[in-house]
Symmetry: C2
Subunit: 466 residues, 2 copies
């Protein structure tokens, strides 16, 4: 074996024990809420057949898919082709089509669609599933953007009811509240409203250009949006019609009333408004006896998101406590499984941005102390006699379900103490000659520095309460 | 988008909600025990640099590593080489070295060694970590062998104390007992004992051949082992010396006494015996006040495992309740991080075979009912009035931390009931005209078929107890 100086592929990360505990805290909190609303977990393989993924994410997306080399004698087929076919050009591109048939998952949505189609006979619809797994993208790595990252999705397929949309709003609200966030907006819009607006101004064919431009209102202001709209083929007259819609102000109810006027002649537009009203109505009914959360829900006409497959409501979540992009998003798609031959199965789903939520909680100092603690108590190791005395005590602590360690050698006490500090272990039991003689052990609280002499039963009681 | 008939790469699997709940039950049970013994979780990226993995698993292993194609313009470099260098042979092999620099993790041990070396300045040794992540191997798929599967490992590096070995025996015992297994053997041996035996018969250079042969005693009996030993260069005289060692019978103590006699002239052999004795001693002290588990620990001289990097104690776990290969194994390695330039760091670790444990629990029917349950109660949906009435009740149930769903449309009752059945939902609340009028809801127990009319407070109390 030659010695290799170790490094990581760019855009990938190790997670230390401290980071894992915090990440698990986020995932567990979100999963608990998913389950409470009837969503069940599935997992799909990291590798999919290349043809399952290709063509689903646009040309740019296709380039970012990580391909996996065929295993074993992947060269044989290429050489066989060359031998048989003189005209076969022996260049890299031709070889690659022969040597790679698999690729790493690019998102959780396409594998989920593949799952639903493959398992349709076993599934009882509506199918409510959640999935928390890594995905891989060959994006240029930069701050906050990785080549391997976790997605955290919940989707329901086979139910057109807008109750699902309402429940997703509640899921966002409950999960983020449980994570300690206090001020966040759940933005909602509807693809049909956007279609209606494009229809009203007489440019239905420019809907994508329109939404791409108005999506930037936050960043570039109305003047910037106007400039972009003109570049994209809209006239000043169009923009005059658009202005009152884009600049819509007031409460959600006021916005809906305005939209009904603006969209009075667009069937699809009015359908979008009615869907939003229905969702708001469900949310109000669901929460009537409990708490007020409607203040954080905002109808935002400029919200567009990836329009490629959304067909109804769309969501986006932002925190107001930290400057950060969206920490969640989703929407309804009327035909996701069509790409695999199963038509007319409607779905709606949401996603949590776990990496961003991690950064938000870190910045706001919202991780609970319990999310930083592994081992609860370390028993020091002075010498062989003390180690011998400690062994049954160690196992007594564990039998009481207390996470415990005995330092495995009689190193200097300072070293043992700094081990406890580094591992964030809150208590140390010191056992020396006095302790062995009296049976009273010294319990040291590592935060306060306090020491008490106690018997093991009292120590167990104290540790279980601490 | 063209329509693709969906399929999975061979050797990979989807996990359904029912399977996920059971898999999580196994992983959670094992992780809880790891934590209780002071082990903390880490994760490493799925992709490692190819040079991190190559040469660590032998020639056969290298062939089974899944390589990932470079992203972006991986063809450019190849074409640049061709243009610059006329002698560059434009064949598949040359291209591949240019187009693949990353590979999928083959096990958790080498990435762990890489992690320890890269993070050595942040780590407080001894470093006790566990890791539960998928690995990928381009093995020929067959029953029970997959190309993507989870490994579940715990290792400690930086501590030579045999307390660690003893604690791993306890971890195996506690985790498997918590999973409901009653009759299993934790086999232990020591690499130094095997070295001592090879030394005694005067063939230290044939140690690998010797261990490969005697490892098969279970399967081919002593006659078969004799035949193989002769083929591998041992004489009849050697085998006469080996026989009493291989066929060692009796209690662990009796075996140790015999070994001390046989290995009286081998320093390394006696060291191995002393290590085993020390481990047994630790186990006895740790468990003296609690329970008897020593009956399931067996010193097995024929146990060899992969000898490539183990240097001290080795472990293997087998269940006696089902015919199945080993469900766990591990051992001590004195120089794992040396391959990455960090010398003299000793480690010891164990692994649980999660897929096999799954099959064992399934066959013995040991999954608890709780490990099959997601949603606890479904509210039926008769019509719009009933749906409206149900909404606040739905949210009341969830506020009481009861996982609840409202069927999202007024489908036929039979369909709603079979939805509950398929999802293994144990209770259904039926709300019709009578229920709305009286405020008493019908709670149906799906197992017994019993129905009761109760108010929502009583239902919540009953569901929380059920």
């Amino acid at each position: 074996m030659s010695i290799t100086k170790p490094s990581l592929p760019k855009g990938t990360r190790d997670f230390s024990p401290q980071e894992m505990v915090k990440r698990n805290y986020i995932f567990d909190t979100i999963k608990t809420v998913f389950k409470k609303y009837g969503y069940a977990e599935i997992q799909t393989p990291s590798m999919e057949n290349l043809q399952t993924l290709t063509g689903k994410y646009g040309d740019e997306g296709d380039k970012l898919i990580f391909k996996v080399l065929n295993s074993g004698d992947y060269l044989k087929e290429a050489e066989r082709r060359k031998t048989k076919d003189q005209s076969f050009e022996y260049n890299a591109k031709n070889l690659l089509t022969l040597i790679s048939e698999k690729a790493l998952r690019y998102d959780l949505t396409v594998p989920f669609a593949r799952y639903v189609v493959m398992h349709q006979s076993e599934i009882s619809f509506p199918f409510k599933r959640f999935q928390v797994q890594p995905v891989w993208r060959a994006d240029r790595p930069q701050k906050g953007r990785y080549r391997e990252f976790y997605q955290c999705d919940a989707d329901v397929v086979g139910s057109p009811s807008l109750l699902n949309e309402a429940e997703f709003i509640l899921i966002y609200h409950e999960a983020l509240t449980n994570l300690g966030l206090k001020d966040f907006n759940i933005k909602i819009n509807n693809r049909k409203i956007l279609s209606g607006i494009a229809e009203i101004i007489g440019k239905p064919e420019l809907i994508v250009d329109m939404t791409v431009a108005i999506d930037k209102l936050d960043k570039i202001g109305f003047e910037g949006v106007t400039k972009e709209l003109i570049e994209r083929g809209f006239t000043n007259e169009d923009i005059q019609k658009l202005e009152p819609v884009i600049m819509l102000k007031g409460s959600n109810d006021e916005k809906l009333e305005s939209l009904k006027n603006v969209l009075a002649n667009s069937e699809i537009g009015l359908k979008g408004v009615a869907e939003i009203e229905r969702v708001f109505d469900y949310v109000a009914k669901l929460t009537s006896s409990i708490s007020h959360l409607t203040s954080s829900i905002e109808l935002d006409i400029t919200l567009a998101r990836g329009l490629n497959y959304y067909t109804g409501c769309i969501f986006e979540v932002k925190t107001n406590e930290v400057a950060m992009g969206s920490i969640g998003g989703g929407g309804r798609y009327d035909d996701l499984t069509g790409m695999f031959g199963l038509k007319d199965l409607t779905g709606v789903g949401i996603s949590f941005g776990a990496d961003r939520i991690y950064d938000v909680l870190e910045e706001l100092n919202l991780f609970p102390a319990s999310a930083a603690q592994g081992t609860k108590v370390l028993i020091s190791n002075f010498d062989e006699a003390a180690e011998l005395y400690a062994l049954p005590i160690l196992q007594q602590l564990r039998t009481a379900n207390i996470s415990a360690e005995l330092y495995p050698s009689s190193a200097k006490l300072k070293k043992q103490m700094s081990y406890a500090d580094d591992k964030n272990i809150p208590f140390v039991i010191l056992i020396g000659g006095d302790e062995i003689e009296s049976g009273l052990l010294t319990l040291k609280n590592m935060h306060s520095g306090n020491q008490q002499k106690l018997d093991i039963t009292t120590i167990i009681t104290q540790l279980k309460q601490a």
